[in-house]
Symmetry: C2
Subunit: 330 residues, 2 copies
Amino acid sequence: MGPKKRVTLKDIAEKTGYTINTISRALKDKNDISLKTRKHIREMAKELGYVGDSAASALRSGKTKTIAVIVGDISNPFFGSQVRDIELAARENGYTIIIYNTGEQTEWEKRAILSAYSRRVDGIILCPVQENKDNILLLQKLGVPFILAGRYFKDMETDAIVWNDIKAGELAASHLAGLGHVNILYIGGPLYISSGTDRLRGFRNAHREKGIPVNENMIRITNITAGASGEAILQVLREGLPFTAVVAFSDLMAYEILYTLENHAYDRYTHISIVGFDDIREKILFPVNFPSIRCIEDEAETCVDILMQKIHGRKNSPSVRFLDVELRLP
Amino acid sequence: MGPKKRVTLKDIAEKTGYTINTISRALKDKNDISLKTRKHIREMAKELGYVGDSAASALRSGKTKTIAVIVGDISNPFFGSQVRDIELAARENGYTIIIYNTGEQTEWEKRAILSAYSRRVDGIILCPVQENKDNILLLQKLGVPFILAGRYFKDMETDAIVWNDIKAGELAASHLAGLGHVNILYIGGPLYISSGTDRLRGFRNAHREKGIPVNENMIRITNITAGASGEAILQVLREGLPFTAVVAFSDLMAYEILYTLENHAYDRYTHISIVGFDDIREKILFPVNFPSIRCIEDEAETCVDILMQKIHGRKNSPSVRFLDVELRLP
DNA sequence: TTGAAAGCGGTACCAG
DNA sequence: CTGGTACCGCTTTCAA
């Protein structure tokens, strides 16, 4: 069962007596080949088990019908389900996706971009690490159609599709404030990530509106990788800060925070109020419930649609598309 | 910012005066090109921003340095983290991965295989749907190196890497029996999936060993897609079966079961004993804890290693590799 | 409606 | 050490 010879157009040509050319176009159902011939050729192709060689066709046509999706961490179910939705949307457009994991590291992100480009992908969906802009400049230099997803650069002209994260932050904090909380802890992602900045801004906005002062010490900026929010909440506990509610940057971080609080049996924190983001419970049914901010539009489909427009040259000026969000109650 | 012209070997050749051939080999650091020339060419390539075209090189060399990973659902964090680990292992071998989602549907699985083959992937890692063997026969006919992961066919000679699922089922059931439970509910995946059969067999083995009779009505076979286990447990509740413990086919299903029990406030079930599989909490920290069966070997790395052996022709006779498992207590 | 020929951008192989 | 040349399998263009 070694590496078998592939069936090529040539093989079909020899079997049928037509030329490679005719075979190629017959299999693409071009109407300048007679119906009868097309049918005949199609049958023969099937019989021989012809599959086609996208490397060859990519080389000649310059099109691969592939888009690259570059994200921080597919093991995160939020990204995971986004990727799955993107795969479905892409498939409907006749595209397959290839996935790269950056581990939220700029260097890996760069490698991913280069690898994708080398593979001649027709377009790229990128959830950028955002430590700096180099990789975006690289993308622009290469001239691949691309769109940022989930995060964007305020001072760069690129296509992007993101949540209205300011509103998201506002919703989270004002919900807790509405419950009577005045000591709300914020555990959020790095400020170089746009959602990091924006959600925090929303958090502040909500405080201002409700006339609650923000205690800067209650704002904790952490990594968004696993373990970081647990560390952060432990530190807060050590410092003995008197919080009664938490805004967590993602549901996953919220779970981790609850886990940590529970495991350290600080009974006064066991019935803490918490709000997360992503509404992961929409996808996966977990037995622990808390309010979560979610996007009420179809991110994946919109994202793929816009990218398709770019790929087909039906879109010129870059624009950031903000998606609306809401608070989902338990 | 339209589709820019790619920098090719030819461009570098013209700039430097060498032939395309020399450029190609210099960039691959072949030692039949003088060090000085190599350095010169490398610098020029960098200056021009040369990236290379894997479609072209794949066409000629027959190698893409790509492996396809075909799984049921990447939004499932267990698969997600497996895929991430595979990506890392593959990368260390100089390979990138492309991912396909089957949604546990045979037809999609077939399309994924054909698409991967068409892309000339060097190898395929497949977690098979197992409704029938057609797709495996297809893979064998195509002659691509492939390995099954997580599931295998008892009556087919293929490479596979799976858990010792019989032991896994035994561990789960005997743990609960050891706690004194005699009415243990089993909610598991379809029997055409090898882990479905094997874990159930383990479940029965444990009962036999402990001298507990198996009530066939307590064995519920469901889909492994989201929502199915919730349905199953509801049905059990409706029937009023007197279970005091549950073996759930995956942690995700266990969560869903707990969620459903909680939401229906059947107080006699709120402190039910449950055991899951996958030990998802190893990856993601959740505030709800129960014992889980996990694999104590490095699945992803082993899987990629074996596939690499196959790709490089260093492995002939197919074999199933069983990985050891253990019970992780809360 | 079909055929012939020229590439796409690399790599393999042999010559010098 | 470097150059020449064929060729991977398909698509494109032009001719018949």
